[in-house]
């Protein structure tokens, strides 16, 4: 799909609407695309190469040079301008590649696994840049398997499994829909009597003990509230901490994909 938006391949069926109008040739100037399979000419100098790619995106020589200088200063890589790409490390090359993707101030930024090859420090730099571009009004499409970054950056997600969309919505909504009345509760006191206090409609999912501090994960039954749980266990336990267990995107991913598996198998 990403390639279709970028007009690299044509769609089998359907059509693309870009900014309310049917897709046209000129739109590629408004898209910035960082493919998953990416690279640079190894023998070419960094600056020349970035200039070349910028000019292919429709920038004039002068504008491209100016914008590049700004970005290179921002990333503190001015000294790389005359280096050949093959002299750079993978992370360094990725940085250059990122610059060439966003240089022409695209309205739509398509990033396919943008953080691969970056160390944590540079990941944060890039992340900050992505968020800044979002705040400046760019639409950003992030394709990744890294669910942590999804949680941090994305406003809305769509989960695609075996070319079928199985989940979409804002990150908040998706997370809410995957909440299932599960709480984690830490306390000191007798574990046995704690267990006895949980009568019907509470389900003990997990328990861990360290010294005399116990940590239990409990799923509430229908119609129960956190207060009911607390009332039940308060007489026997000294409660230290209680919080709701919200599934991470990672867990949602696993759950959504595994739930959809049987259906897929039937289809195929």
């Amino acid at each position: 799909m990403i390639r279709i938006i970028n007009q690299i391949t044509g769609p089998d069926e359907g059509r693309i609407v870009f900014d309310g109008r049917p897709q046209s040739q000129d739109n590629i100037y408004r898209i910035g695309y960082l493919p998953e399979e990416r690279g640079l000419y190894k023998k070419m100098k960094v600056g020349e190469q970035a200039l070349y790619l910028a000019r292919l995106k429709g920038l004039s020589n002068h504008d491209a040079k100016k914008a590049l200088k700004e970005w290179f200063e921002k990333f503190e890589i001015d000294s790389w301008w005359d280096k050949k790409v093959e002299e750079l490390s993978k992370g360094m090359a990725q940085k250059v590649q990122f610059i060439t993707t966003v240089l022409h101030k695209p309205d739509l930024l398509i990033l396919d696994e943008p953080f691969s090859g970056f160390d944590p420090i540079n990941t944060n730099i890039i992340k900050a840049e992505i968020l800044r571009l979002r705040d400046e009004g760019a639409t950003i499409m992030l394709s990744t398997h890294n669910m942590e970054s999804v949680e941090e950056i994305c406003d809305e997600i769509a989960l695609i499994n075996k070319s079928k969309k199985i989940l979409d919505g804002s990150v908040k909504d998706v997370k809410n829909s995957f909440r299932n009345q599960t709480y984690s509760i830490s306390f000191t006191g007798d574990l046995l009597s704690f267990g006895n206090a949980l009568w019907t409609n509470f389900e003990l999912i997990d328990k861990k003990s360290q010294d005399d501090v116990h940590k239990c994960t409990i799923k509430l039954g229908d119609g129960k509230k956190l207060n009911d749980l607390l009332q039940a266990v308060m007489p026997t336990s000294e409660i230290i901490e209680v919080h709701e267990v919200i599934p991470s995107m990672n867990e949602i991913f696993i759950q959504a994909v595994s739930e959809n598996q049987p259906e897929i198998i039937v289809e195929s």
């Binding site: 390639r3 007009q7 690299i8 000419y41 070349y52 292919l56």
Partner: protein, 452 residues
Amino acid sequence: MSKIGIIIRREYLSRVRKKSFVIMTFLGPILFIGIMAAGIWVTQVDQTQHHVLVIDHSGLVSQTEQSSNRLESRFQDRFVESSDITYAFTKERPSDDEFKEGPYTLMVEFDDGIFQNHKGYLFYKKVPSVTFTSRLSRELEAALEQLKVTQDLSISFEEYKRLKTPVSLVQKDIEKQDETSLKQEQAAIGMVFAVIIFFFIFLFGSLVMRGVIEEKTSRIVEVIVSSVKPFQLMLGKIFGIGLVGLTQFVMWVLLSFIFLSIAEAVFNAGYLNPSTLVDAQEMANMGNNQADFYQTLAQNDAFNILLRINWPVMLGLFLFYFVGGYLVYASLFAAIGAAVDSETDTQQFMTPVMLPLFFSYLVAIMSVNNPEGMAATIFSIIPLTSPPVMMIRAAMGISGPQVWQLVLSMTLLVAFFFFTVWIAGRIYRTGILMYGKKPTWKELGKWIIYKS
């Protein structure tokens, strides 16, 4: 600047700036001139000074000179000494040791038996060159001939010379009867152009292929095709590299001229000067009257061949077929590059592209001997083989009924270029984004037919 323009610029500059390009540009003419100079040097070295002792047992070609009381040549214009050869005569063969230590490099021995068995003997310390040996035997032959004429016939040698009637068939084209025909010699000049076209296609076509593979393996191609159409990228690459080739070619021609004139100035080398070449030939002409005839003919023709070729047309056609042939083959090479992942995988697809190229080269060689033959005519029209073959025909001059063949050939080449570039564009479009597997012929076919 249009996108293709930007791409051409990059393809061109990134290659022209390479050290290897600069080195090759200068090294090419130096190597070329070096080989030429080495060739001249070798022939010079081979021209050793020969002192020939003619052992004339029966006094056939020598007689005692009254004044000096020494044996000398019987005929004024035979056994004439020149810069690289001296003659001495004797009736008695010296002993082997005497010869070995003596000043003579060669001994020629014969007696009157030579009229029956037609054999003389040549003794040497070092093997003389074949040309020198034949020159000696020609000399002896001519001397004996003169002897026979003057002794056995009652006419003077001058009269005999007049009797002798050497004949050479001068070819005439029925269309252009006022000219002597030098078709084959002209075709040989066409061959030079054909060879240039062949190597240009071969070298720079595969450079296009390697360029495409490089883009694939470095994974930059998807970045670029998100900005430009694959077709534009392919055309930009083909044109860019083509310009690199043209630049290199023009530089080679220019530098060769410059280096040659420098070399001539520095060494004041006589052999590079055409006027001394003629002198040398004239000197050789004095050798044998029969050889005279051919040599004078050849001498005039060397000029004639060059004058006979219609240079504006020839160079124009050369440029056309040079560029046209390159474009056709380069687009095929680009398609191959797009279809494979690495250079080692190219073999399977290279063969069908290289085959017509080598074949056209073969046809061109054959056409030199038979420039107006069937094969030359047919293959100078078929696009994949026409560039080198048509060079041969163009060198002979194209006129009358051949003009339409030329027009047909040129039209077909242009049409075929559009066809190959279309096919290549379709393979390219799909191929550049395919990693990890080598397509089969069937899949390539699908890529071509598949609608976008």
